[in-house]
Symmetry: C2
Subunit: 199 residues, 2 copies
């Protein structure tokens, strides 16, 4: 069976919430999940939409909803002091590690999201991303160099472009057999789709 | 116990889906629902957001999601030929009927939403709104005059302004004891809030 594609931005609270659930949901139906970090800034250029926190009324609501949704789903959450952040460093780190070890790349992504969303570590800093990676036994010196490697930059850019070509405009954004689902709040529809093969 | 406030635009597919469920959900917890038609156009002026169907990528996704969400919730849905529409006529009709008979106003709102979202009746036309109202035993001649009555226009305007002052920026938008919930996809959180008095 085709793996599920899970697109997210490391700076997205709903992406973080989804990251804590997507593998377990997929496993229940015998599916693997391919994690695909992207940069929402690039999608905003296509949609013309502003970043959520800057929108009058909706920005205030969203801050309340991040916290309430985390409580609702039983996920630890502390709203980061700096928010949103540019997420090139963690996203590049992910793709660099993934080339060698896809399982470790997912572990790294989980550790980075947890650091940002529960311990207020600003993972947009390459040094913080490298430190967290090193804590998982990843070669910090090599990773630090990789974050500025044109090939890795290009790789992330290509992933973002491919995501946009598939219609991705937000985070989380999930494909099950090419059916697109946007948002943590589509998990109930995703589960039914997995169970029934569509509806 | 305080009634639940249910804000919606007659042109909103997710507002329509929510309208088919909100009273039953509230009744389960001994609550009444106050239906509050509003005009999303006015909220867009405050948020600076464009109407959903016009947004690149997100507009296409939303059309797919309207249909899929209707199937998921088991609600009849046919995407209207003219969409979105200006919803002054149905909203004014609602507030005019509500002054005399709140129960009938809700029946009228349900009939108007059903006409627009299952039979492609363009309820932005005052004549269509009046015809549907007349079918429910409402005085069509008096309603037709009311739709241009400055007092009714003012009443709708005041409701929209009050909604915006409470933070409403989308449809459906629901308040349970002043806790705001945006979207049909917050019904699971609304239910828990009603059950537990917060979480």
């Amino acid at each position: 069976m085709q793996p599920i594609d899970f697109y997210f931005d490391f700076s997205s609270p709903y992406g973080y919430l989804a990251s804590t659930r997507i593998d377990a949901l997929a496993a229940k139906y015998g599916r693997e999940v391919r994690w695909r970090p992207i940069l929402l800034g690039a999608t905003f250029k296509v949609t013309g939409l502003p970043p959520l926190p800057t929108v009058p009324l909706k920005g205030d609501y969203s801050r309340r909803d991040f916290l309430r949704s985390a409580r609702f789903h039983g996920v630890a959450y502390r709203h980061p002091g700096v928010f949103p952040i540019a997420s090139q460093a963690p996203a590049r780190a992910f793709y660099w590690v993934e080339r060698q070890d896809p399982v470790k790349a997912k572990m790294l992504a989980g550790a980075l999201l947890e650091a940002y969303f529960t311990r207020d570590v600003n993972i947009s800093n390459p040094s913080d991303t490298v430190r967290i990676a090193a804590g998982l036994g990843i070669d910090g010196t090599a990773l630090e160099a990789a974050l500025n490697d044109p090939a890795i930059k290009e790789r992330l850019k290509a992933e973002v472009e491919q995501a946009i070509a598939r219609g991705v405009f937000g985070s989380p954004f999930i494909f099950v057999d090419d059916e697109p689902f946007w948002g943590m709040d589509r998990f109930d529809q995703i589960e039914r789709w997995l169970k029934e093969g569509g509806f």
